[in-house]
């Protein structure tokens, strides 16, 4: 007489567990979309007792003095050149924010550091990060309390650079190891081991004359271009304090 009715609890949407999984999945998608901002802020609070202490600042200041000497030479040269070319655009980067490194990934696949200053301190995406010695990278994401920096050694980093001695522009490409590669699209470029590399005056991402590194080895086996390994002046795996600068090019 009566047909056998399907038991309603057998449907998948009647199971509480499935909804729990779905809720977790939605939450994780939210974390993914917000680029881990929640996690990074949580990490900010729990890592606070382990941040680098004040004594580190003295070591950093010594290195900064050395960096300034190199920078001064470059700026003097640059200034003379700019005086000759009156119509050149002015670059200013007078706003510096000091920040401590609270997480670093300087080996393996990911080349990034996380700083203890975020959007509430005025850090914005695209700001440049300089450590004792020279350029470290650019700010890629910010959360309220932290900011993540893509290092110039990262495979995602590609920057315009300037070889001062031979007055030529090149492209600095991160390869995922400690020595990024400088690519010069001219087979005749007279680059030598020991040449100094700084940020390019033609770059739209960086202000000019930030020290980057020194040519360590040259590979001229390629037909159309020359490549060179660059030894960075700033060492991201040991630096605990950095300066974040706003870029107005």
């Amino acid at each position: 007489m009566l047909g056998i009715r399907r038991i309603p609890t057998s449907r998948w949407w009647h199971k509480k567990k499935n909804w729990q999984f779905f809720a977790i999945f939605l939450f994780l998608v939210f974390i993914r979309i917000s680029k881990g901002a929640l996690y990074k802020d949580f990490y900010y609070f729990i890592s606070k007792p382990f941040w680098p202490g004040q004594f580190q600042k003295e070591i950093v200041l010594e290195s900064i003095d050395q960096e300034y000497l190199i920078k001064l030479n470059l700026l003097e040269k640059d200034n003379m050149r700019l005086r000759r070319i009156l119509s050149l655009q002015e670059s200013s980067n007078d706003e510096h924010i000091s920040a401590a490194v609270i997480s670093r990934k300087t080996g393996s696949w990911w080349r990034q550091i996380i700083l203890n200053k975020g959007s509430k301190d005025g850090i914005e995406i695209g700001n440049i990060v300089v450590g004792p010695g020279g350029l470290l990278g650019r700010v890629t994401t910010t959360s309220l309390f932290t900011s993540s920096v893509t290092l110039i050694t990262s495979p995602e980093s590609k920057l315009g650079v300037w070889v001062d001695r031979i007055q030529i522009n090149g492209l600095l490409v991160g390869l995922g190891d400690d020595l990024p590669s400088l690519i010069l699209y001219s087979k005749d470029a007279d680059i030598k081991v020991g040449d100094f590399v700084s940020s390019s005056p033609a770059s739209t991402l960086l202000p000019p004359n930030i020290p980057i590194g020194i040519v360590q080895s040259i590979d001229d086996t390629l037909k159309s271009k020359k490549t060179a390994k660059i030894l960075l002046l700033a060492k991201p795996h040991v630096i605990d304090w950095v300066q974040v600068s706003k870029v107005n090019i």
Partner: protein
Amino acid sequence: MNKFFTKKFSIISFIFIPIIFLWHPNWLGFLGAQPYWPLFWLLPWSMINGSINGLIFGLFLGLILDSLTLNESFTQIPGLILCGFLFGRIKLNSDIFLGHFRYGLICSFGSFLCGTLYFLQILFRNFSDSNSLMLIPMVKNILAEVFLTGFFAPFICSQLLRMFKFSRRKI
């Protein structure tokens, strides 16, 4: 409270994987590489809860870890999903001594799988540029990661497996 922590230990430890991933202690590294931390959690979890659970939590781990790394074009999800699924098909071994070394071997294999899948993505993305320059440091990364993961897995996985089993028993 204590009962809550014991019962939910697996989930609480899951939350802390990204924190260890961010911590990235240099003194624990080898040639600049670190052990692949998520596998240490994923192996015992999948062995106890099966392939489907392993696959789902592989996806969850991948989502979180991708959000913490800045490489927008590359993802860890395929490697972790595959590892979660494969780890779920492994049966528990009664021999404790043999089990210890098995964890090392399995995690090394998992790390190799994840590393290779990640490397292939980088290679594919930079196909036209300078992939020959990238080859050596990337292979070095994979090998260092495989070694470290295999080295630490027997210690960490067996402890986590014991704790997960303990948290699942009826209190």
